[in-house]
């Protein structure tokens, strides 16, 4: 009993995140990016997704992590986000997990504010904490630097 949801999981730095699979359009590796000058560093760039121009957000920067070098190829998690899809650039993509709503807990106070405001809850997994992202809040920001 209890609702079960499927989550697409991925990692940024040492943090693990999950997003409801229904909000994820697809996952793409290695997209060519066009930089956007004058935009904040949260904006990784713009990319061509089958003829549609999609903005890519550096999820690490979005949650307030220090800028890391662009190590290796990044992975784009394309979120539906209403009218236009947005890409979250992450380090690594994990498995799809089935988790129950009742196992979800509220985020601990130890989480910094910049992260907590984007997270709707957490799941205690075996080796790590999975932070459930509120996708619509993640993509809602003003990109002027």
């Amino acid at each position: 009993m209890g609702t079960e949801r499927q989550y697409c999981t991925f990692r940024v730095g040492s943090l693990s995140f999950g997003v409801d699979v229904l909000e994820v359009q697809e996952v793409i590796h290695r997209q060519e990016m066009t930089r956007v000058p004058r935009a904040s560093t949260v904006v990784r760039g713009l990319t061509n997704l089958r003829g549609q121009i999609v903005m890519a957000i550096d999820l690490g920067r979005r949650i307030g992590l220090e800028p890391r070098g662009e190590e290796g190829e990044s992975i784009n998690v394309i979120i539906k986000a209403g009218e236009r899809p947005v890409s979250l650039v992450v380090d690594e993509v994990g498995d799809i997990l089935n988790l129950r709503d009742e196992d979800r807990e509220s985020p601990p106070d130890t989480l910094p504010n910049s992260v907590r405001s984007l997270v709707t809850g957490i799941h205690q997994l075996e080796e790590r904490l999975l932070l459930i992202l509120d996708a619509s809040r993640v993509v809602d920001f003003d990109a002027a630097a």
């Binding site: 004058r38 935009a39 061509n48 997704l49 003829g51 121009i53």
Partner: protein
Amino acid sequence: MVLAWAMTPGSIPRINRARGLGMVEGGEALREFLIESQENLERLDQELIAMERGPVCPDAVDDVFRVFHTLKGTCGFFDFPRLEATAHAGENLLGDLREASIPWDGAVTNALLELVEAIRRRLDSIEQSGREPEAADARLIARIETLRHPDAGRTAPGADEANGSVEVPEEAQGVKQGEGTIRVDVAQLDTLMDLVGELVLARNRLDRLTSGEKATPLQGAVQRLSVIASELQDGVMRARMQPIGGLWGRFPRLVRDLGVQCGKRVTLEMSGESTALDKAILEAIKDPLTHLIRNAVDHGIESADRRLAVGKTAEGRVTLRAFHEGGMVHIEIEDDGGGIDSSRIRERAVERRLIGAEQAALLSDRDALRLIFRPGFSTAETVTSVSGRGVGMDVVKTNVERVGGTVDLRSEPGQGTTFQVKIPLTLAIIPALIVSCRGERYAIPQVSLLELVRLETDDSRDRIEWVEGVPLYRLRGELLSVVDLGRVLGEAAGDGGSSAGNLVVLQADDRRYGLIVDGVVDTEEIVVKPLARQLKSLSVFSGTTIMGDGRVALILDVVGIARESGMGTRNAERPVEVGGAKESEAESYLLVAGGDGRRFAMPLSCVSRLEVFEGGAVESTMGGEVIQYRGELLPLTRLPGGSVPGPGGGEIRVVVASDAGRQVGVVVDQIVDIVKESARASELGGGPSIVGTAVLQQRATDLLDVPKIIRGGMAATGRN
């Protein structure tokens, strides 16, 4: 009888020949028939209205005849007997008109227009329910018969009908297509777009996989595939664009009918029919535009009597205009009617509790007018059967905003009102210049492009004049403010400093400036896509596009860049208000000095050229001094307190200033500098041509009132 276009299985309608049921399960063929016929009817409307106003054109008469004829014939296949009869009546009438056996007069036009309406109603009904209304258009048909035989009594309506049904409708073979065009389902196009999208993705992958290798045949093939995929993508997107004229087809009729209904005489003028928009957007703005036009006729245009009484022509005019500008499609609906009184709007808004009385008083006139867009606003007079309740305007605004557009209005009481709808070019295609800056490419809409100047080294370093950190470029004698694109984008300095590369001369509103870029890549037709919502506050970009090789490029906002670089626009409000001090934004000023060392300044945006003339070239006229300049008379004005070397004296330095197409030469003693400062000017009674006094370069400097000086100068040349 041959159904030339209905030969594919599934498209042949199953016709139930039992009269009385008249049911048709149409397929492709019926849909084609409906669309084609509605288009023809729209064209008929326009032709009939044109013939109502002017001479009867034989070609148009033929066209009208053919439409009725074809319609009648086609009805036979689908079994719409009453529609057939109505169309037949029209065909008969046209036949008589063609042979000139009866004259074409107002009664005939009215009858034909009503026929068109009747047919349209039947077609609508068929579209909705698959069958036509039970009732026949007996009265209308009878009236037509009376027109055909004004002397004789009514002929038996059955006779002609019997004749018609035996006739072989030669022209019903094949649907009449326009030359070289074909009708395609929008859904079909969407599917194509998706497929092409997938193709592009696969292309991207291939690209990545082969990027490491050196010029192998495989890479060459992938390149070719790349180009083809991009062109295919472009092509499919273009197929979705339609000229706005398609929307406008119905408006002449609408305006005419409304005019008749309201008892006013109104004519509709349209321009920019070929301006293209994505089909989805056209659908979305159809209703708002219709409402605005109804509004213009119903509330804008006054009755003929009122118009004559105030000295206008009896016939009112509504003008519909569409054009591309500044990255948007502009649609203007202008009427030369009575205008909107902002104080009445204020009253009503307060009455309807949309706003407090104090707030209403504080609003500027323009903002007061905008109150009509608020939900719940409706003046008692606007509740008519034509426009319906005042729920219209806020719905217009919502619908336009839903596609990312804006709607605004201007009005002059007594003269007229103009509504402006602006829609971003989401799927619009514009020609653009592709430039490069620090390794990235950017697109500049060609509509803003004036010229390209190649800056060769050395030679051109002279032409870029650096004055107090503000670069200026002298282009054929004219001074241009110059902006380095790299700097605007916050990039590191390129190699070669800012004098390398190319200068792109751009027009931003009514200002010109030069943009320094590293290189010019190409001109290309690009599909404009709007900026992501989160990026909209970046004023230097107006949109994005996908280049031929599949990469994304940003489109520069020519006006946004000008503003960011501190170039004021000529339309900017004057920095001084009477009796108070007002701070203006950092603007560039040309500092000059008069003979007594007194300092003056004028906004650089007003300065066209700096010239030096022989004193002897100055001539005196009744209105003042002038000099012959570039084939025209340039009025001269001297600075207050300036030395006057009079005719025969040495050289004189002249700053040629211009405003709104008119010029004046300001004689100065010395050109001091060009500064970019935020000038706080206060009115200290400096003189008739002075706007105020500011402190620039730590010295008191009088700001010249250039527009006023120009007006005074015009008096000298006797021109207006």
